[in-house]
């Protein structure tokens, strides 16, 4: 078939642009930036000569520890920009300046807002820097690590991009900057810079999954010295570190997985090749997706894989893969991935969870996720819940608690399709919102008291799963602020 390349391109660009889900214009951020621009330009006009000196001095001062370069009209002030630089190399201006020069060779980002940490680790040294992104909205946190401690050996280990208009940032929480750095000695080190004045912080290297399915964490108290708690993370089977400053718990941010991407793909291919489930083998795409999160935190040598469920509705439709990662004979956790394909685009999500998974429990509970969430009224939200479980004849969304909200009532239900997949649209009163922390991954779950219950043909209850993925994540992906949207929920 002969086609016109111009028409092809025109159609392609149109489809690609239409597929972009544009968030609302961040007018407040823009206004603040305009004010900042106006202020800067006004000052430049009236005090050109003076400003020339200030700019020269300011450029040098910006890389000095403990200084911020610009802050007066920043749309959302990061506490991280004002906390004094932590670490035992904070006062070593020569080291810090050389590190900044090294940093710029990696990121290419010109403005350094603040050096959060510059100091020695048990092995080597690291520098943690907050920077502006290429424009006005986004911020980045970059971590460089040097095995020898010398600046010439600094290598970029972490790079987190954050939306300044959102409150949730992976590397920076409201209470601390907590990063984990993989040393070249194959050990993992942590730096926790508390954003308030505390003497100690607590650190947990990861959760422990018990035989009864419960998840526990052990915490270690670490003294804050020169503004930072620094140490080596314990060797654990599930590497999901968290820090605790005061009463607030925040996950560490780290991008270095315990398995390389190549290793992860190899595991996915092994799973496909050795697929023993009673369904068709999954696609490589979903195998990689479903295993990506657990393989980032659990070493390949520490688990075996059991297939639990695989279904594919084709395009358009949904593909789901659920597998159990068995840590030993008694202990395991499930993970499942969902790939939704419409005519022109593909949406991928992965969910991991740790729960009671004794042998007879494997695969008996429904796999549940929030597919869509829309603000309906001031007092309620429309939620599209999807669930799948082999052998289920009916599903219900139920408030599982006996007091408050709907007190055990059923919000909605549905019959699964030929694939065993059900879609249930429910309107959830805001009083049902109760944020709980999911124990394994440490995510905040916004509807922790709502569950999907599966029934067999005789109406017997055959499995229950809480709705575990977070409404907040969905709202953030739409550019909406969950807290603002729930004005009365506290």
């Amino acid at each position: 078939m002969t086609r016109n390349i111009e028409q092809e391109l025109r159609s392609h660009l149109g489809r690609r642009a239409d597929a972009v889900q544009v968030r609302p214009a961040p007018l407040d951020v823009l206004r603040a930036e305009i004010e900042r621009d106006r202020h800067r330009r006004g000052a430049l006009t009236s005090l050109v000569a003076v400003c020339a000196v200030i700019v020269i001095v300011g450029t040098w001062a910006a890389v000095l520890p403990g200084r911020t370069r610009t802050s007066e009209a920043r749309p959302t002030t990061w506490t991280v920009d004002t906390v004094p630089t932590a670490g035992d190399l904070a006062q070593d201006t020569a080291w810090t300046r050389q590190a900044i020069i090294r940093l710029k060779s990696f990121t290419g980002t010109p403005a350094v807002n603040h050096v959060v940490f510059a100091g020695r680790l048990p092995v080597g040294a690291a520098i943690v820097v907050a920077q502006d992104g290429p424009g006005t909205v986004h911020r980045t946190v970059t971590v460089l690590y040097s095995r020898t401690g010398r600046t010439v050996d600094l290598e970029q280990r972490e790079y987190f991009q954050a939306d300044r208009s959102s409150r949730t940032v992976r590397a920076v929480g409201p209470r601390s900057v907590a990063v984990a750095v993989d040393g070249k000695d194959e050990r993992r080190y942590f730096v926790v810079v508390p954003l308030s004045s505390v003497r100690t912080v607590e650190v947990s290297a990861g959760p422990r999954i018990e035989a009864d399915g419960t998840v526990h964490r052990s915490w270690r108290e670490v003294t804050v010295h020169r503004g930072a708690a620094v140490g080596q993370l314990d060797d654990v089977e599930v590497n999901l570190p968290q820090s605790r400053v005061g009463t607030g718990t925040e996950p560490f941010s780290f991008s270095q997985a315990v398995a390389t991407e190549k290793e992860r793909k190899a595991v996915a291919r092994d799973l496909m090749r050795d697929w023993t489930g009673s369904w068709d083998a999954p696609s490589e795409e979903i195998a990689v997706l479903a295993l990506d999160a657990p393989l980032a935190v659990v070493r390949r040598s520490d688990f075996t894989l059991d297939p639990l469920l695989s279904l594919d509705q084709g395009r358009p439709g949904t593909e789901i893969l659920a597998v159990a990662l068995r840590l030993d004979e008694d202990r395991a956790f499930e993970t499942f991935g969902v790939v939704r394909r419409d005519a022109t685009s593909t949406t991928r999500e992965v969910f991991g969870r740790g729960r009671a998974l004794r042998n007879h429990d494997l695969g008996t509970t429904p796999f549940v996720w929030i597919d869509e969430l829309l603000p309906a009224h001031r007092s309620s939200v429309d939620v599209r819940v999807r669930a799948v479980r082999t052998g289920a004849a009916r599903f219900e969304v139920r408030d599982t608690e006996s007091d408050g909200c709907l007190s055990g009532k059923v919000l909605g239900g549905g019959v699964p399709d030929a694939y065993g997949l059900v879609t249930i649209n429910v309107t959830v009163p805001l009083t049902c919102r109760r944020s709980v922390t999911e124990p394994l991954w440490g995510q905040t779950v916004d509807f922790g008291r709502l569950s999907v219950v599966a029934y067999d043909e005789r109406g017997r209850e055959i499995g229950t799963s809480p709705i575990e993925n977070t409404a907040g994540t969905l709202m953030a992906s739409k550019g909406l602020d969950l807290d603002q949207w729930y004005p009365s929920s506290g």
Partner: protein, 181 residues
């Protein structure tokens, strides 16, 4: 808030989605696109009293976007940037895939590989439907340069499609519809 400011806010509110979509095509990722539009709007605001009198202020913003993008390329070259999520490029499978999806996948990758200036030229020509003269004005170059960038860009895309088993036709002289004055 003054009338001028209200006018600007209304303009931002109205034009934002279209500007971001164009910026995504220019930059390849959403975060950079938002940043680019923000920066361009700040520049536009400086001259808003003049720009607002124009029939189509979006043209001014787009020109600012292209200029800012060009500055950004100059400053930072072609360094790879890490992103949290890998952009969706669709699926390519041997069976059960429509021609549209396959073409999209090939074109998407081919566009991402184009030099950024060439890519910007194609986006302005074939997404924004600008004439060669308008593109030249926005890009700050000659019409001849736009023609050669367009021609070479299309040739590369055609080659990419051909490599994947299709035989695209030659470019036509079809005049794009003109949205801009």
């Amino acid at each position: 808030m003054s009338g001028v400011e209200e006018d600007f806010s209304a303009f931002v509110h109205r034009a934002w989605p279209g500007l971001v979509r164009t910026a995504v095509l220019l930059t390849g990722d959403y975060a950079s696109a938002e940043d680019l539009v923000q920066s361009a709007l700040v520049r536009t605001h400086r001259r808003w009293r003049f720009v607002r009198r124009r029939d189509c202020p979006e043209v001014y913003v787009r020109k600012a976007m292209v200029n800012l993008r060009r500055d950004w390329w100059r400053r930072n070259g072609s360094r790879e940037r890490l992103v949290e999520r890998v952009p969706d490029t669709g699926l390519v499978q041997a069976d059960g895939l429509t021609t549209v999806l396959e073409t999209d996948s090939v074109l998407s990758r081919a566009l991402d590989r184009l030099p950024r200036r060439m890519r910007a030229t194609l986006v302005l020509r074939f997404y924004e439907d600008m004439t060669e003269r308008q593109v030249a004005r926005v890009m700050g170059c000659s019409v001849g340069s736009v023609k050669s960038q367009t021609s070479r860009g299309l040739a590369r895309l055609r080659e990419s499609l051909a490599e994947h088993g299709t035989c695209p036709g030659t470019a036509t002289d079809a005049t794009p519809s003109r949205r801009y004055p």
